[in-house]
Amino acid sequence: MKAILVWAILVFCTIVPIVAIFVYDAHLNDDVTAEILARAPEKGNFLPRSVTVKAGEKVILRVRNVDTVTHGFAIPALGVEGRDIKAGRQSMVEFVAEEPGDYDFYCTAWCGDNHLQMRGVITVVR
């Protein structure tokens, strides 16, 4: 019994916090359609650079800036206005795309020499 208690305490202090972090985050974001990492083009650009969603359905994108400079995000053709995302932070983007097609998304904050190459595409399908 005592050994079980010791192991329980050790697991609580070591593994539980790690697991709890990811479980809690998954719970908070269970309605997220996709996560996009934002990095300067020379460090990998947006990842993924292509996201496929269904027409007529609410889309929630979690855009995480894992870089060291501020990036922006916008999907002008879908009415998603530009917003700055500071380094180490994230932004939740919501929209509904009614019509199928390809819609570009861009970085809207000057982030370096290759800023204009920082882009991707949302593919809307039926």
Partner: protein, 475 residues
């Protein structure tokens, strides 16, 4: 006059007797707490929980900016400030009491987490005699600061540092006896050890006569109530805080309740000659030099230096490494040597070696060094401390709001007073250093007139050092 007799008559700044003590364990609640096996363990487990979150944050944060990372904020803002401003100056090596880094290694040695098992496991090798000093820690800590441009801003770099220390702690715990890792390797241990000489707390015996009659010395060997000193000290007779990790085992193992946790005037241990050496002298020089370099690089106006430290170019970083090492290992010690030489020359005393003068008097730099670090800490606490409120609620920049403070944006706090606080701290450090410089000169030269003459060059050095730091911090 014996050293102990001399110390008995000394007063800090001519006001506070250096032999004044207040035993905190005279308070029944404190004594009760110190004798419980769960007391330090509870703190260790709590900190272990926090460290797991910090380590996870390091992996999640990757190479992103550190100001929204719990890893960077907790380690380099919160913990570092607590260590330098509160734990070390007041409570000596009390961080070692609750540090989770060596915990796994120690539990593997003991093959248990709770309870007592004095039959330790592992190879239990003795640490090499030639390395039973601070030299290894000096070079390891200096080496760690080469990468300060990465560790202090990149979450993953901090993860690698802390993870590496944990792994090293486990390996060395299985190879060597007891807390050899903590005593001779841990990068945090060295400066805690030296600066704990200034601390306002100590663990000592209450009545040495009781220990003299105690044949078994269970504070060293251990008993059913606790472990023999994991720090391999002899609690019944040690005189300095330098290597005492305040684990409180001696409170548990002493059958006569003869251990005390005393509050005392700052700097008391600086006058204890036993254990002094070039290793500790160099630790003092290295810490001073690092405070200088860190401020210049991180808060100074020289962007090219910042670029070097951050490794924007390999050549720049290597130049920084060479300059930083030369400053810490050569320039600062050499500058002090000049004034130590002048001290000996002006004292007129011939029968004291230059080495003794150099080593003894170098201890007067300890209060100044600690003051420089506290002043430096104001420099990032007040502008950046507000980030801590944000990261408590949103530790990984994932949009959480655990405690409702995620919306608390960056807010500098009382930064208009920052320089004043830094100056005040430096002046306090100067005053304490000067006071102990004179006392150390008296110890070294014995003759009071000679000590006065020998003190003057050191006073000049301390004055120049204070003015230099004041210029650096004040702009």
């Amino acid at each position: 006059m014996s050293e102990e007799k001399q110390r008995e008559g000394e007063k800090l700044l001519g006001l506070i007797p250096l032999d004044w003590r207040f035993d905190l364990t005279a308070l029944p609640l404190v004594r009760w707490l110190f004798k419980k096996r769960w007391f330090p363990m509870l703190l260790i487990l709590f900190n272990l929980f926090i460290f797991m979150v910090i380590l996870t944050g390091g992996v999640i944060g990757g190479f992103s900016s550190g100001n929204y990372s719990i890893t960077i904020m907790m380690v380099w803002i919160l913990w570092w400030v607590l260590l330098m401003m509160l734990l070390v100056p007041i409570f000596s090596r009390s961080w070692c009491l609750m540090c989770p880094l060596p915990a796994f290694g120690e539990w593997l040695q003991r093959l248990r987490v709770f309870g007592v098992n004095n039959s330790l496991h592992g190879l239990k090798r003795k640490w090499p005699e030639r390395l039973k000093n601070m030299w290894l820690m000096n070079f390891l800590f200096l080496g760690t600061t080469f990468f300060s441009g990465f560790f202090t801003v990149k979450p993953l770099a901090t993860f690698i540092l802390l993870g590496g220390i944990i792994v090293l702690g486990v390996v060395l715990s299985l190879l060597f006896e007891k807390r050899s890792f903590c005593l001779y390797v841990c990068p945090v241990s060295g400066f805690q050890g030296l600066y704990s000489n200034v601390a306002m707390a100590e663990i000592r015996v209450k009545d040495p006569a009781i220990c003299a009659k105690h044949k078994n010395k269970t504070c060293v060997t251990g008993n059913s109530k606790g472990y023999g000193c994991p720090w391999m000290l002899e609690p019944h007779s040690f005189e300095r805080n330098t290597y005492c990790g305040m684990c409180l085992e001696c409170f548990k193992t002493c059958p006569f309740d003869n251990m005390a946790f005393n509050m005392r005037p700052p700097g008391t241990d600086l006058l204890v000659s036993k254990g002094r050496g070039l290793d500790e002298a160099w630790k003092g020089f290295i810490m001073l030099s690092i405070a200088l370099m860190f401020f210049a690089a991180m808060m100074g106006p020289w962007s090219w230096l910042k670029d070097w430290v951050r490794g924007e170019t390999l050549g720049g970083w290597l130049t920084f490494v060479v300059l930083h090492s030369a400053c810490a290992l050569l320039v600062v010690p050499a500058s002090f040597f000049v004034f130590a030489w002048l001290s000996k020359a002006m004292s007129g005393v011939k029968d004291v070696s230059m080495k003794a003068v150099f080593v003894n008097l170098s201890y007067c730099l300890v209060p100044m060094g600690l003051a420089a670090w506290i002043a430096f800490s104001f420099g990032f606490l007040m502008p950046n401390g507000s980030y801590v409120l944000h990261i408590l609620s949103d530790p990984f920049g994932w949009g959480w709001n655990l405690f409702g403070t995620a919306g608390f944006e960056w807010t500098p706090v009382f930064t208009g007073l920052m320089t004043n606080l830094q100056f005040a701290t430096l002046i306090l450090g100067f005053v304490l250093s000067a006071d102990f410089a004179f006392k150390l000169a008296q110890q070294t030269y014995a003759d009071r007139a000679a000590a006065r003459r020998g003190f003057l060059p050191i006073l000049m050095y301390l004055t120049g050092l204070t003015l230099f730091f004041g210029w650096l911090y004040g702009g």
